[in-house]
Symmetry: C2
């Protein structure tokens, strides 16, 4: 069965509704671009006010067109769009590209208009790109279609580009042309009312012309679907994304560690990381990477050789390599011997190989032929600084020619590239990428190495543990009915136990007698903690006493807690006391879940105490998380050595952390009602039997108007 | 008195020794460039083999020239350079630019040739640029001189450029021309045998034509002089530097924390920070900043307004601003009201002001005129994405014109800049900087804000405390004579006491009786530590016992230490025991000094324990340090909140840290023989009377061959 977006990209007939004969209008430019790019099906202009446009018969309505119409490009003013869409539906149109603006982007009245437009599209089972977009391009030979109002003719090639910003899309198309980056598909997705980036990724997955996908996104429509689709594609076709709006979420208020730390766009970072999308922070970097991925094979490893005719830029390239974690190995003795023979005495045959200023294309050719087969390197960076601006073109051509004899990536850095590029005549994708600065080239190499690591990463599935799900369902249902936000200590213990989190021995008691009875099972030393509905910060009310070693201390302590709670009895009229086995040693960690408004639940892990509070040294993943993702969460901590065994200490039991992260992931996935979880501290030690949840807080989503519900008292 | 480098930059007569008539040779290009750039003094070609070059009489030797010669450009093969230089001396030449290569850069034989060349230069009291350089440019009206072999004609302007790499210098000159960045002076310093960057900075300090200085450096000749000169200039004339070779020093072995952490180029970072030089990491960034500093006033603060015709790039600019710590305030109500009146309904009058795609130059003009006077902003970034490539030039011209009516910096971001720039005719420095990507523009703004902060920083002087310097001199002299590397515990205590570092009460004893006598002054609880010549890691031999509370424990402990030391008596035949007052509470920090081979002593400060070992959270400054520098060292720690008072704890006494850092700085400055100092831990607490040096290690530089000297035994 054909893909639902087939009608958008491969129509046989197109109607341009709202086209115009007036130069400089969008309606005119789109018609012009379609014809200029030689769309080989039929194009029908539609405009009730003009009988002829561009020597073509113009129809007053799409309904008057004597042929079937597959795709309609709508450029009418927003006042007329609903009728235009309705007529498309009646005509049997399958795809719409809605260029018209004035919808969601202008606020509430636009939101309503967009809703009504989408309703029409869905009623007639059409698909729509936009509204508020700048169109679609396909450069496939049989479907050459430039349905945008961008100026200039796209170069055909194998790079697909999806942009949430129309203006940026136009600028990017222009820039791609300058860099001779060939486009397979271009889509300006605008307001994404019907079709978002994930739909398009799904379409591009099987598009043979597309080998590399570039994204400019400001937000995600459906992060879960995006993750799923991107994951399916990204091992075969690299996806490189600019996601802007990174800092806008920062101001969001949050009431837990996990929540507060989840701001600042960690969700998008985590999501891209989890589905193998290479995130870059600027359009410049997007192009730097695209140039390399588009024309070069993926390197087998991180070892880089540099060949240069000038010391300065090679030092800068070396700095960049080392900073980004790439290695510059020594070349093999036989390689060095050959270089020594062919290069002048003043040259350096170390890596970087400095052929000095007198090097001509001949030297580049010989050096590449000697260095590229050396199996101690994976990628070659050729740097050329023209000392007297002669022969640049010849050097570029030579390097490019030799590079094709080997299966390793070769990148060029030419300081003074502008001249060179403007004079190169080559088909897109056939020329090595040429960078004006060494740092850009090295960034591209590093991204390719990172992509290789992603390709090589084993598939890791989501584990499901046997748990007492039904029990938790009942507890959470109870909480929901009572319209409480926070679970009580008792409920939390039951939930944690149901998902087999390791808990210290404990009991909940009301008085000294119950305590003395309970201690027989728990054993000294213990910790006492009060629990009361609505009480979140127990220490603040003197509600925690530690290291109680005998019956006498226990009795005293229970009285002490009673005195302390008496001072706050207006706020917390009833309370209970938790007696908990005292856990000594181990590392304090924090594990939690916070909801991101766009991405849903995020799982967090970090070291406890000052690491989380001052150093913000935590990692996030979008739920659910695989075993591998859990391991990466641990390994991405700056202070991970504290867990892995630093300063001669024994490492904690890492597999226990991984398992408990996955249990948390399962709990979160099982219950949509959960709003936040903070397990803090979660103590891990060398012995898996000595890892314990010491304290935890769990909140559920409240239905609105229930926020002010008073805490229930104990019966 | 004229500056010693006057003869290099402002000669009346120039001889080109080794010039040639052959096209494509360096000797020919330099002569050609001198004439092409219309040097208005006399130029004399010198070449024994040609009677005429370029229609000019050619002399066989500089000695034959009938006029006085101020400056000689030497291009002869290296075999002839000593004779050429000698003849320059005899002729009374004052300055030499030595283009010839084949010196220090090719290894030992070159080093010797360079030494002999320098000897001649110094004997005749000449000054020399190079050797192995590509020349000098001056664009001053009365001294127009292009004595380089770079192609293309430099644009006169107010930017001086000093490059340690000749090839990079040529590429940069070309790039500057493309960006219409006008040059005041250009110097390729080559091997810096006689003249280094600091000499040139000293010259540029009073050069009226130079308002901005750009540096490309690979290393420093004399870091102390560089710091001094750069500091004098940088408040008036911004200095922007690329320092490469950042990672090469990383592999250096080091035997202390301070030393190990001092790798990776922290010295250069510290030095630039201390003298107000703006360090960038690439030539691209160098130009991004130069464009802004060259044409725009320095902003008064960090508040940025963004005006755009497209959402995407404005979001990216916002991200960049927030990430770099700039603020985007709301505009004032009256500004917003005016914008609302002039812009279409769909526009956003928040900051970023989004005038939407229909905005023309008229809208930019109006918006700038309204937003620039708003005193809630300091800098304006104007973004323009041409939706149909019309009117770009007009928009640029308009923004530029309006910007000149206000004293605030205005930067432009035009996606599709290439076209625009190529068609702009303006004098260097008269056009606002235009960036192809928003991130570059924002980086430039951030650098200007940082520069402003540097300009506003109060002068901070180096403090000198009254200390017992003579006492330390005697101790170190003793250590030197015994050819020991490490000071003993006793010596360390005396040194620290002489410079008034706070030490806990302590005594050095040999046995139980002495210990019981000493304890009367110290008081329980105490710590016992063994000390033995050559013993660095006391804990490893069981040589530390803590929290000894009474006479019985003291006696037992001394016996215990005796037993422990018996097991290692072959290595440490004699030892003593230090009894030290036990210090409880406070924050453990580490303070130290390490020698950088290029920069001399660096002062380090950080939090102790895992902060230094795992998180590497430390800061460095080049010695000596001012009070302000000491304060900045504390404030630049990631975990500084632990000192400043985190989680409701009281802050430690910061002024004590500052004072002790300055005392350490003074100690280091007083004694060149010191090689490394590690004060670890140095405990600071809220009460200045409760801050103590707990342990310290001090090493001196050993004369060679003394490394293997055996530790001395106690008498």
């Amino acid at each position: 069965m054909a893909h639902p977006l087939e009608s958008i990209f491969r129509p046989k007939t197109i109607a341009v509704i709202g086209t115009s004969r007036q130069e400089g209008t969008i309606g005119r430019e789109i018609l012009y671009n379609l014809l200029e790019f030689e769309f080989n099906g039929m194009v029908f202009p539609v405009n009730p006010k003009a009988p002829v446009i561009h020597s073509m018969k113009c129809y007053r309505s799409i309904l008057e067109i004597p042929e079937d119409v597959d795709l309609a490009i709508i450029v009418v003013p927003k006042e007329h769009i609903l009728r235009a869409a309705e007529e498309c539906g009646l005509k049997g149109v399958k795809g719409i590209v809605a260029i018209t603006a004035g919808f969601k982007e202008i606020g509430s009245q636009g939101v309503e208009l967009e809703r009504r437009l989408l309703e029409i599209v869905q009623r007639y089972k059409m698909r729509m790109i936009g509204p508020n977009c700048m169109g679609v391009i396909n450069t496939e030979k049989d479907y050459m279609m430039n349905a945008t109002f961008a100026s200039g003719k796209p170069l055909p090639g194998h790079v697909a580009f999806i942009s949430q910003s129309g203006a940026l899309g136009a600028a990017i198309l222009g820039h791609a042309r300058e860099l001779r980056l060939g486009i397979s598909k271009f889509v300006s997705i605008g307001n994404k009312a019907d079709t978002a980036a994930d739909d398009l990724l799904d379409f591009l997955k099987d598009d043979e012309e597309t080998r590399l996908i570039l994204l400019y996104l400001e937000n995600f429509g459906n992060p879960r679907r995006f993750t799923k689709v991107a994951k399916e594609i990204s091992r075969q076709k690299p996806i490189i994304a600019v996601k802007s709006g990174r800092t806008l979420a920062g101001a969001r208020a949050a009431s837990s560690h996990t929540g507060a730390l989840a701001g600042l766009d960690v969700a998008a970072d985590a999501l891209f990381e989890q589905c193998g999308v290479l995130r870059v922070t600027s359009v410049e970097e997007l192009f730097d990477l695209a140039m390399a991925f588009n024309s070069q094979p993926i390197p087998k490893g991180d070892r880089v050789a540099i060949i240069t005719n000038a010391g300065g830029p090679a030092i800068m390239a070396t700095d960049a390599c080392v900073n980004l974690g790439l290695t510059l190995p020594r070349l093999k003795p036989e390689t060095r011997a050959k270089l020594k023979k062919m290069l002048p005495e003043e040259a350096s045959i170390e890596n970087p190989v400095d052929m000095i200023g007198s090097a001509k294309e001949k030297h580049y050719a010989e050096a590449l032929q000697v260095v590229l087969p050396d199996d101690s390197i994976d990628t070659l960076l050729a740097i050329f600084v023209p000392p007297m601006v002669t022969g640049s073109l010849e050097v570029v051509a030579t390097i490019n020619r030799i590079s094709k004899q080997f299966a390793k990536p070769v990148l060029g850095c030419f300081m003074g590239r502008q001249d060179v590029l403007q004079n190169i005549e080559s088909k897109p994708g056939e020329m090595i990428p040429i960078y004006p600065y060494p740092e850009s080239a090295v960034k591209a190499i590093e991204a390719m190495v990172r992509y290789r690591a992603w390709q090589m990463k084993p598939e890791s599935s989501i584990r499901t543990f046997p748990v007492q799900r039904e029990k938790v369902t009942l507890i959470l249902e109870q909480v929901r009915q009572e319209q409480r936000r926070w679970l009580t200590e008792g409920e939390i213990s039951e939930v944690m136990a149901a998902y087999a989190f390791p808990l210290p021995c404990s009991a909940i008691v009301r008085n000294v007698d119950e305590a003395l009875a309970a201690i027989k099972d728990i054993g000294y030393p213990v910790v006492l903690k009060v629990t009361a509905p609505g009480l979140l910060h127990k220490s603040d009310v003197g509600g925690v006493l530690v290291d109680i070693r005998n019956d006498r201390e226990l009795t005293q302590s229970i009285h002490q807690l009673s005195t302390n709670m008496a001072t706050v009895k207006d706020t917390y009229p009833t309370y209970r006391i938790i007696i908990q086995q005292l856990i000594k040693g181990g590392r304090e960690t924090i594990m939690g879940m916070a909801l991101d408004p766009g991405f849903g639940p995020l799982i967090m892990f970090g070291l406890g105490g000052i690491y989380v509070e001052i150093l913000k040294d935590v990692s996030f993943r979008v739920n659910p998380i695989s075993e591998l993702a859990a391991r990466e969460m641990i390994e991405s901590l700056r202070a991970k050595d504290l867990l892995m065994g630093a300063r001669g200490e024994k490492p904690v039991h890492i597999d226990s952390i991984i398992e408990n992260l996955q249990r948390l992931s399962q709990l979160v996935a099982d219950f949509d009602i959960l709003e936040q979880i903070d397990i803090n501290p979660f103590i891990f030690s060398e012995d898996p039997a000595k890892c314990f949840v010491i304290d935890a807080r769990i909140a559920v989503k409240l239905e609105k108007a229930a926020e002010t519900k008073k805490p229930a008292a104990f019966q």
